[in-house]
Amino acid sequence: MKFDRATRRRWKSHLMAFLCLGCVAIALYPLASILYTSVVRGAQAINADFFTQNLPPPCNPSVESCVTGGIWPALQGSLIMLGIAAAFAIPVGMMAGVFLSQYGHLKTVQSMRFFVDVMTGIPSIVVGIFVYALFLDLAQAGVFNTSWVLSALAGSTALAIVMLPIVARTTDESLRLVPPTLAEAGLALGIRRWRVTLSVVLSTGRTAVITGALLATARALGETAPILLTTHFTTFPAQNLNGPIASLPVLIFQFGTGGFPNQVSLAWGATLLIVGIMLLISIVARVAAGVVGSRAGLGGGG
């Protein structure tokens, strides 16, 4: 009867609304759990030594007394590789982004943008494989000796390739948001176009551009797979660019899955460190830019 059906429809509408709220809760639970677990398991590892000591060997506490150690080599390794990667990827990516945004009315440039987009979606492990194969081919061709194949430089290169399309696209998106009338005003004053782009467009959009670069760097911090395939992990601080090098994400992977309590503890400490940095940068990014969201920057890494 009409009444029953109408009531049923109404209740169904309420039920669906409730389910949608439930979906939000289901999604937030893992986030809360990850944060909680990181804090609970990681906080106990963090102290001054954590940042300064070398990585401890695996150790079974019921058999021997264990060195607690610290993550300094991994921290140093990540900073080095990230630094090199960013030093290349950020300027180059930004310039590419400027190009895409300013000349994006051309059909060719639109295709270029399309393929830069496609590149942001490539699994980072594929980037790792690529860099390894590339360096191996180059070493076999005699360009440099084989010690460079698994090296800090290779790791940095892999990270740079991961970061490059992201920085380019976030710069592109940020600059496209700058109202064209501003550029026109600059041009109407008789200023040359490239100068208008730099001093008017880029400076107006600089917050969003910088935020994008920051997000790309943060994402690279957590990337494991590319470094896994291009570096030799070591428990000691890196000596030179063509040698083994530790890194935070690989530390988390190897120490976390190794099963030795002293190492596991450090893995969680490193996790807390990384998660804390990511959170901080996400909040800063949201506050600063608001529009250049996390969509283009984070996520999808291995």
Binding site: C23, P30, I34, A133, D137, G190, W194, F253, R295
Partner: protein, 330 residues
């Protein structure tokens, strides 16, 4: 649009050098340098494809196309000849990705509907931001959390429950202490939620309000109006979001490696350990010899192919949206 505006006249500023088209030298240089960087990025993509293809040739020459459906992976061991086949890993990738979509997509759509239509205004942005934070967690951290939290939970609670209720079906037989395709699928589902929900959210927001009002004024309930007008109107965008989510799920490495159990076999049960393409490559790359490495590279090429395909399809879908949206109501 490349030529500058009105010519800078007067004695104060010298006129810039121009070429025949009116462009100043500075502009040409700028165009050239920035264009080169953009071209560099495109060329890198091309190089990735070329190098992976080239370095897979050894395996291709030896095994040819049957590599894709071979089921054994035997590195040199001095006894049996080398044999490489990708099927177990393709299977693992497909199953875990399918699970990720099955679990993650409805949740993502639910989140998007909540944020666009149901949430109070003040909650919208903060809640959306928090959901996006799921994307800020690196894969290896998901993996570690997986090992220490999700796997024990699945192994002690969910898997046995599924086993006792549905264990007679081939899908849920056996056990693996939580290191299985189901667990990996669950983690992948969580990881694709930020992507799928945020794109779906954009798609829902782009539906003109008058569509919803038209359904409401026919006497539809809120949910019916959403279902009939908003979700169908936005379905191309939602489909694109799903494809992008699929692309993400297939490429994820660390979280999968750490929870899938690393068993090189094909079992129908979701509760069995397995390997995905990405996890297998990550596990075996270090010690691989010449031919095996080439086989792994070929696997990487397969992964690259899947990722490019899903990306291209999704973005083509999104481009078609700018045309379709203008057809209605004009």
């Amino acid at each position: 649009m490349e030529s500058p505006g009105p010519i800078a006249q007067g004695t104060a500023a010298p006129a810039p050098q121009r070429d025949a088209s009116g462009r100043a030298l500075g502009d040409n240089l700028f165009l050239g340098i920035t264009g080169a960087t953009a071209a560099f990025i495109n060329l890198t993509l091309l190089l990735i494809i070329v190098i992976l293809a080239d370095d897979s040739l050894p395996t291709l020459r030896v095994f040819g196309l049957p590599f894709l459906w071979g089921t054994s992976w035997v590195p040199p061991n001095g006894i049996t000849p080398q044999l490489y086949g990708a099927l177990p890993f393709i299977y693992g990738t497909l199953v875990t990705s399918a699970l990720a979509l099955l679990i993650g997509v409805p949740i993502s759509i639910g989140i998007a509907i909540f944020l666009v239509e149901l949430s109070p205004g003040w909650l919208r942005e903060p809640l959306g931001f928090v959901v996006e934070l799921l994307a800020a967690v690196p894969s290896v951290v998901y993996g570690l959390w997986g090992i220490f939290v999700l796997v024990p939970f699945m192994g002690s609670t969910v898997d046995p429950a599924l086993g006792s209720a549905l264990g007679w079906t081939p899908l849920f037989s056996g056990s693996s202490q939580g290191y299985n395709m189901l667990t990996a699928g669950v983690i992948l589902a969580i990881m694709i939620i930020p992507t799928v929900s945020s794109i779906t959210r954009d798609a829902l927001k782009s539906v003109p309000q008058s569509q919803r009002e038209a359904a409401l004024s026919l006497g539809a309930t809120n949910w019916e109006a959403t279902r009939v007008s908003v979700l169908t109107y936005a379905r191309t965008g939602i489909f694109g979001a799903i494809i992008l989510g699929l692309g993400r799920a297939t490429g994820e490495t660390m979280a999968v490696t750490m929870t899938i159990g690393n068993g090189n076999f094909i079992h129908t049960s979701l509760l069995s350990s397995a390997q995905s393409i990405a996890s297998f490559i990550a596990n075996n790359f270090a010690e691989a010899g010449y031919l095996e490495r080439s086989a792994l590279l070929e696997l990487g090429l397969v992964l690259l192919g899947i990722s490019i395909l899903t990306n291209v399809v999704a973005r083509v879908l999104f481009r078609s949206l700018t045309g379709a949206g203008e057809e209605a109501g004009s």
